[in-house]
Symmetry: C2
Subunit: 258 residues, 2 copies
């Protein structure tokens, strides 16, 4: 059973995952970060030790969690010896097999959510997407994940990559549209607050209704008069005009044949 | 004081606004719709009369609410005589002055939200965006709006148009990205359910954090490796590739100088 963890990384995901594991009773032996102060800040919250020296890495853990930026993962793995250790990464966009050269026991422990260091999120709701090299390793990861969340799923590397890409649409792109909305109304002295009930309702609606069926608006019904009015309204912001046309076209194409 | 209302329209907005007014104690004298069955369906819920004949329109109201598609509004106004009557429209995209030829007493009563006939929303949270031809009319509309919502705002036609356009980004475009996410994961046999906590958290986050500051992801930091991986993943869906590149570029442009 996994009881002791060494956590490599101290970013947004490492911070929130570390805190959730700690709260569930897991012993975080050590937090590594290239930046000493980051490692210390997180270690303090996890009743753990901090290091920024890879040769000091605590090798007594049952599981080594690598919660790192994609390009840092292999760079760090090449500098340490984890043969025989159970290692996992937490990346949506990296296949599991990337770990194979470094140990026989490897897997993926991917919590599908957006994380900030400052903002705690309820892990019970977060889908824990797991993958492992062998069934007994998967069983171990499942037990660990079930301490954190009610939604534990076995997800292949290809499926995980589709989720990671979908998350870019659902989070990054959606959030950017919130930002663009903010810019649009700010210019007219309108408070972004006024848009918040709409943001909340738009998200709440697709909890119950398929987003395809929930779609409304001028693009879906190809209301050229309103579309043209919106484009005119954006005449001094050609980049916004372009995005508007582009996404409207995509909505229309998706709906025209249905 | 406005106590009696004639409601022209029986669509999504008319349905939800009518129900909220009725619940607040307003007397809905009549519901008009071109489609008799729609008028009857809504009138029944509002303890009201239904008609699909413009010459039968009940002219005893204190306020005439035109909750119609943009292109239907003037077509209908041309067929009736509302001189001396207090008329309002509920459209985000139409200026108030469009009503001026038809009566001296006119205004706008625009609830900023997405509505469906089936899904009731809490009006208390909905920004009621008001505009009127004269201060005393505005005061009347304010009193009426305050029966429904705690957020009553005086909003000019230009501001309202900016809100309507921002709402297209915040609702239509965001919802379309939920749909595209759904399509992306469906192809790999992954349940859209897994993305729902992320959708909820993404919306919840901007209640507290400015969306610009909340932005994360590969586009913001111009992580070419991940961006290229995502584009490769979409190689058989060129339309999605194009949207991905386009919105990523917009995110990068917004953040690169900050």
């Amino acid at each position: 059973m996994i009881q002791k963890v060494t956590l490599v990384g101290a970013g947004n995901l490492a911070t929130q995952l570390g805190k959730a594991l700690y709260k569930s009773g897991i012993d975080i032996l050590q937090v590594y970060s290239r930046t000493k102060s980051s490692a210390e800040l997180l270690a303090k919250q996890l009743g753990s030790q901090a290091t920024n020296e890879l040769h000091e890495l605590n090798m007594q853990a049952d599981l080594y969690i690598f919660a790192l930026k994609d390009d840092a993962l292999e760079r760090i793995l090449k500098q340490i010896d984890v043969r025989g250790k159970f290692i996992v990464h937490t990346a949506g966009s990296l296949p599991m097999r990337i770990l194979q050269p470094y140990s026989d026991s490897y897997g993926v422990f991917y919590p599908l959510q957006t994380f900030s260091k400052q903002r705690d999120v309820a892990f019970e709701q977060i889908p824990m997407c797991l993958e492992a090299a062998r069934p007994e390793l998967l069983a171990e990861l499942k037990k660990l994940a079930e301490r954190l969340s009610g939604k534990v799923e076995e997800i292949s590397s290809a499926q995980r990559q589709s989720l990671h890409l979908a998350a870019v649409f659902t989070n990054n792109f959606v959030n950017h549209f919130y930002h663009l909305s903010h810019q649009i109304v700010k210019k007219y002295g309108v408070d972004f607050e006024l848009l918040k009930p709409l943001i909340t309702e738009t998200a709440a609606k697709v909890m119950e209704i398929d987003p395809f069926d929930a779609q409304t608006g001028p693009a879906k019904r190809f209301d050229e008069a309103i579309i043209q009015k919106h484009l005119n309204f954006l005449s001094d912001q050609p980049e916004l005009q372009e995005i508007y046309s582009f996404v409207s076209k995509s909505i229309f194409e998706a709906h025209k044949s249905k």
